[in-house]
């Protein structure tokens, strides 16, 4: 079974401390990104688009911007950054020589990836409020939900990190999985514009679809039963990938 105690927080704290040490660079992207996207796509390209399903275009893409940012920050944290700590810095080796076990190291890394997603969502929210593209107070839910969505992407990322032969090979999931998701998950145009088989594929296999769906319900303050399906899909997938990541990492590191 999976062996996780309160010691997991010491792994999380290590990453938090390292993050704070370089906070200036870390805090810039969540402020800059939404501004750029909203200006270019929302108000630039968006002037040609009157409304999507009756929603002004900047308002339509606002929840997608948060979802994408959470995906990127959690996914890249637990692929490239975790790989650097595991393989080049030997940080995991150093930690497992203490009473902290390998399961806790991997869990701590994923919880940190989720936290990072949550931090980014929290920093983006004031910018989106400034542009008046999200409803309040429901949009405060973006922040806790970002932790769950972040944990999902961190788990998926950690599975790739566990099986990748080298840091370069992590480019495959980045280009073949993350980039298509960025475009085809109901982010910048509604999913139902796509051919039906692709819609089903997106719902079945692209986690971002569900994250965008749920975040859109939050920022528009319009919840429907479909959103429960989103939430169930995300919760189930999060548990599966969390456990799978730990098992794959054990296979890689315990020899």
């Amino acid at each position: 079974m999976i062996d996780i105690t309160a010691r997991v927080q010491s792994v999380w704290r290590r990453n938090w401390d390292a993050f704070l040490r370089t906070y200036r660079v870390n805090f810039i992207p969540p402020f800059i990104e939404p501004v750029l996207y909203l200006l270019a796509l929302g108000f630039g390209l968006g002037t040609y688009i009157e409304a999507v399903d009756g929603i002004p275009y900047p308002v339509f893409i606002a929840p997608a911007l948060v979802s994408i940012s959470v995906m990127y920050s959690a996914f890249f944290e637990c692929t490239y950054s975790s790989f650097v700590r595991m393989y080049y810095q030997k940080t995991f080796d150093a930690i497992i020589a203490t009473p902290v076990g390998i399961d806790e190291v991997i869990a701590g890394e994923m919880l940190w990836g989720a936290t990072r997603g949550m931090i980014y969502a929290a920093l983006m929210l004031p910018v989106l409020l400034l542009f008046n593209v999200v409803a309040m107070p429901s949009s405060l839910l973006l922040i806790p939900f970002a932790f769950l969505a972040g944990l999902l992407f961190a788990g998926i990322a950690m599975c790739f990190t566990a099986i990748t032969p080298s840091i370069d090979a992590l480019n495959y999931p980045s280009f073949l999985f993350i980039t298509p998701m960025f475009l085809f998950s109901g982010t910048f145009f509604p999913l139902d514009l796509l051919p039906e088989p692709i819609q089903y594929f997106a719902l079945a296999a692209l986690p971002l679809t569900h994250v965008v769906g749920f975040n859109r319900a939050i920022t528009l303050a319009t919840f429907s039963p479909v959103n429960l399906l989103n939430l169930a899909w995300i919760a189930a997938a999060t548990v599966i990938f969390f456990v799978l990541a730990i098992r794959l990492m054990r296979r890689r590191l315990v020899v």
Binding site: S10, A18, A94, T98, P99, G101
Partner: protein, 293 residues
């Protein structure tokens, strides 16, 4: 015992480390030293046999064992995101040591390892010897009952090595138990109370450095250039000798007699030297002279 697929890395070895002693594992590359250390540290599960640390089984009581161990790994794995001081604090947190206590120990350990001035310096800016000293300080942060050192002075210059030896000796003097691996024979001879020499996953011999030298090399070594005359003279005398490249080595307790004989036989044409036997002689006799990769 430890198996990796078909390879048996550690083959049914038996050893016991006493409290308060410095116990060494010597052997060529690939002998199984590091694998043995990793099994003691509970980070590499054994494939068979029994292994107890502090009387506890390594398979079932890993956390308790690890909380009482200090580990100096062969590869530097200090945290490059932090300064020397923060490295110790972050590491103390893995052991669940309260912040205030951790700060006290970090200050004390930096002073002990003569790293005071480097307290706020990032790891990348430290020299090899300083990194090694910091790793030893880090291994002491949980006040371990057993310190495991895998090649503690690998790649260091003589000054840095002597400083580390001095620190390890003072740890021993305080009653700490140390287990170390090394392939520096002078290091083993200086530090270890008892040691084993390993090769191909097996323990070849065990004992104190002095006993091992006496048993396996004799008190002295007579060395002479490899010439036909010298070889035939030794054959005549019925003395055992080893060939080491273009040098003949005779391990003996009667060095003067052998040296005189050889000088006469060679009619003073070849140089004959006499020196005390060392652990290196024992090591090379037992593990052979062929190169290990």
């Amino acid at each position: 015992m430890k198996r990796f697929g078909d390879l048996i890395a550690v083959d049914r070895i038996a050893f016991r480390v006493r409290e308060g002693e410095v116990f060494g594992f010597l052997g060529p590359n690939g002998a199984g030293k590091t694998t043995t250390m990793k099994m003691i540290q509970c980070i590499s599960p054994k494939s068979g046999g029994t292994l107890e640390v502090f009387g506890m089984d390594v398979d079932t009581r890993q956390r308790e064992i690890k909380s009482r161990l200090g580990v100096v790994p062969q590869e530097n794995n200090l945290d490059p995101d932090f300064s020397a001081y923060r490295n110790l604090l972050v590491y103390a947190r893995y052991f669940g040591i309260p912040r205030r206590e951790a700060e006290r120990r970090a200050d004390e350990l930096l002073a002990f390892m003569q790293l005071d001035e480097k307290r706020d310096v990032l790891i990348d800016k430290l020299s090899g010897g300083m990194k090694r000293r910091l790793i030893i300080a880090r291994a002491l942060v949980n006040e371990p009952e057993l310190l495991i050192l895998d090649e503690p002075t690998i790649g260091l210059d003589p000054q840095a090595r002597h400083l580390i030896w001095e620190k390890l000796r003072s740890l021993r003097a305080e009653g700490n138990t140390l287990v170390l691996t090394t392939h520096y024979l002078d290091e083993a001879e200086r530090l270890c109370d008892r040691l084993v020499i390993m090769d191909h996953g097996k323990i070849l011999v065990e004992g104190t450095p002095a006993d091992l030298i006496r048993e396996h090399a004799g008190s002295d070594v007579v060395e002479v250039e490899r010439t036909q005359k010298a070889v035939s003279r030794l054959e005549e005398l019925g003395v055992n000798y080893d060939l080491a490249g273009d040098v003949i080595q005779v391990f003996t307790d009667r060095p003067n007699d052998v040296a005189r004989d050889l000088l006469e036989a060679c009619r003073h044409e070849a140089a004959v030297t006499v020196r005390p036997a060392t652990l290196e002689d024992v090591f090379l006799r037992l593990t052979g002279r062929s190169l290990r990769e």
